[in-house]
Subunit: 205 residues, 2 copies
């Protein structure tokens, strides 16, 4: 029961601590909808990926760090996307990833709603979403059952699943956030959304 190429979802990989991932998260669904496509939201853990790639958080890189913060803010302003820095940045996204996985098992649409709420809380208004309790509070605010969610986030099976999803992403050479796979074609960066849009319209060039 595999989807035909024309109905395959756009895979959208992102880390909850990634500003460019956040910016892309506010744009990708409109682009997909233009082309009658769905988006498969795939949170990843960049920290683990950086151990393989040897890269690190852009905002902490010599010379690039200050520029990148300026660019993130400027890119958000240009598209009128609310943007604020959390006090601690980058922050742990393990709890957010686990929560997403728990919710996704029974309600994929709710998992996407949770992802958007988490991104907004962290980078839209600069809140702290690192702790499981913070993630649960956000889940509660959008009406999710947080008792089962809290239990699921502690479940060794979910912990293992999050790790396996991340390892699988590394195996597919997903190395950054945001990262898109469109009908087999990889695109890295919020600044490739225009190419994603065009690829969907034309089938490639």
């Amino acid at each position: 029961m595999s989807a035909s190429p024309a109905t395959k979802p756009i895979e959208f990989f992102f880390d909850f601590s990634s500003p460019y991932g956040y910016l892309a998260s506010t744009q990708i669904e409109a682009i997909a909808a233009k082309h009658d496509r769905q988006v498969a939201w795939r949170p990843i853990l960049l920290g683990a990926i950086f151990k393989v790639s040897g890269a690190g958080p852009l905002t902490e890189a010599p010379l690039k760090g200050a520029y990148s913060r300026r660019d993130m803010e400027r890119s958000a302003r240009l598209r009128q996307i609310p943007y604020a820095w959390p006090a601690v940045f980058p922050f742990s996204t393990v709890a957010a990833c686990r929560a997403f996985s728990v919710v996704e098992e029974t309600d994929p649409a709710a998992a996407v709603a949770l992802a958007k709420a988490l991104y907004h809380a962290a980078l839209g208004v600069g809140g702290d979403i690192a702790a499981p309790e913070a993630v649960l509070a956000i889940a509660r605010a959008i009406g999710l059952d947080t008792d089962s969610l809290a239990a699921g986030m502690q479940d060794p099976r979910i912990k293992q699943r999050v790790k396996e999803i991340n390892d699988a992403a590394i195996g597919r050479e997903i190395f950054g956030s945001p990262f898109f796979i469109v009908d087999g074609e990889p695109f890295w960066g919020a600044d490739r959304l225009e190419q994603v849009d065009r690829w969907l319209a034309t089938g490639g060039w």
Copy 2:
């Protein structure tokens, strides 16, 4: 005799071995012309800058390397820019930088013509421009006096000047290629050309 802000040139920093710098070099003058601006071409030596930033050539990075080559080719195809990989990549750009500096002292427009010819030879058709002899052959092909150019490229004053230009760029936190300064605002990457265009049109946002 400083230029007024509205007539200040767009500073365009680039390394001759930078694919995204090459792509930008084919676009920046049309963008500048739309806004009645000039472009100040500023070749830099990314190798020396990487020693400070700790970064390295994107095409050689784990995971990112293969993607970046694909992205460079795909971005060139999208804009119908001729593109080919030199057999040796990345390559030394010291001779190219020195030649640019020599020509620029007496004829800035000819230096820009040389920069375009060097980029085209290297990344448009995949030639080798690392050696001084290769740079001189390209200079000769566009009608430059290569006797004085060859002498200038050996002049300790020029060697020192190229180094000083690079150090000054590092001092201004120029860390990549292409890099643009537009009325004091920094933009990094060929994928920021749209923002450069908009900044010139609006004066910022």
